[in-house]
């Protein structure tokens, strides 16, 4: 099990992650990702592992990591 962690010093709010992980992330009005689960670093359920990996690969600024 992993969690989604966003490094805010890197994130520029392009929003690729929220497009790829709509179950866990949504975007605020400026495009920055917001956790949907209420946890600061949302837990990734097993069935979303692949999508979480994809989001990690796709973050253009390497701000999103699975920890």
């Amino acid at each position: 099990m992993s969690r989604i962690h966003i490094d805010w010093t890197r994130c520029d709010g392009h929003g690729a992650c929220a497009e790829l992980l709509p179950e866990l992330l949504t975007s605020d009005e400026w495009g920055f990702p917001v956790s949907r689960t209420g946890e600061r670093d949302p837990q990734v359920p097993r069935q979303l592992t692949e999508h979480a990996r994809h989001a990690e690969r796709s973050c253009p600024l390497m701000a999103l990591r699975r920890v």
């Binding site: 929003g15 497009e19 949504t26 390497m62």
Partner: protein, 186 residues
């Protein structure tokens, strides 16, 4: 057999040039943050796929030409540029491009571990890699000067010129574009 190797070496080289042209254009597009229909991650994925396809083709390109008896390449020619006996300058450009490609590919695949600063610095090297590879194709290739090869090269140059021209426009940077209204499914 050696005819086949020769043909394979030429063919993969040309298709790889097309792939890297596509990669560069997609890279500029994805970096711009404007999705152009595919979504931000769609373009990034395509950029990655095209780059890795091109890299795979280059692998076939160098291996087939290594075993081609006419090309007479030594192992050192794949690592150290400008030592070859046949058209050393043009071949050397190919070696240089291969070295750069190796470095850029490794750093890109390990970028999560290496971090964005080094990744980005090394990734600028693609702007050296592409013209060097193009020159290598034009100077070393048997097909250089043929009408279709000139056509391909011209198309590649045009595509990159348009992309880089757009990249250099002042409006490209600074996140000055208008964001598409974002659908938030509550």
């Amino acid at each position: 057999m050696s005819q086949a190797l020769w043909a394979l070496g030429r063919g993969t080289g040309i298709v790889a040039l097309l792939m890297f042209t596509l990669t560069l254009v997609l890279g500029v597009t994805t970096r711009s943050g404007r999705p152009l229909g595919l979504g931000r991650f769609g373009i990034a994925d395509l950029h990655r796929t095209a780059a890795l396809t091109g890299t795979g083709l280059i692998l076939v390109h160098v291996v087939s030409l290594y075993f081609d008896p006419y090309a007479q390449l030594r192992l050192v020619d794949f690592l150290v540029p400008f030592l070859g006996s046949y058209r050393p300058v043009w071949l050397g450009l190919g070696t240089l491009a291969l070295d750069l490609l190796g470095l850029i590919t490794v750093v890109s695949l390990l970028r999560q571990r290496i971090g964005p600063r080094i990744f980005r610095a090394v990734h600028w090297g693609t702007y050296v890699l592409w013209p060097v590879a193009l020159l290598h194709a034009l100077g070393n290739g048997t097909d250089a000067g043929s009408a279709w090869m000139t056509g391909i090269a011209a198309a590649c140059v045009l595509a990159v010129a348009v992309a880089v021209g757009w990249r250099l426009l002042p409006s490209y940077d600074g996140r000055g574009w208008r964001r598409a209204p974002r659908k938030v499914h509550a």
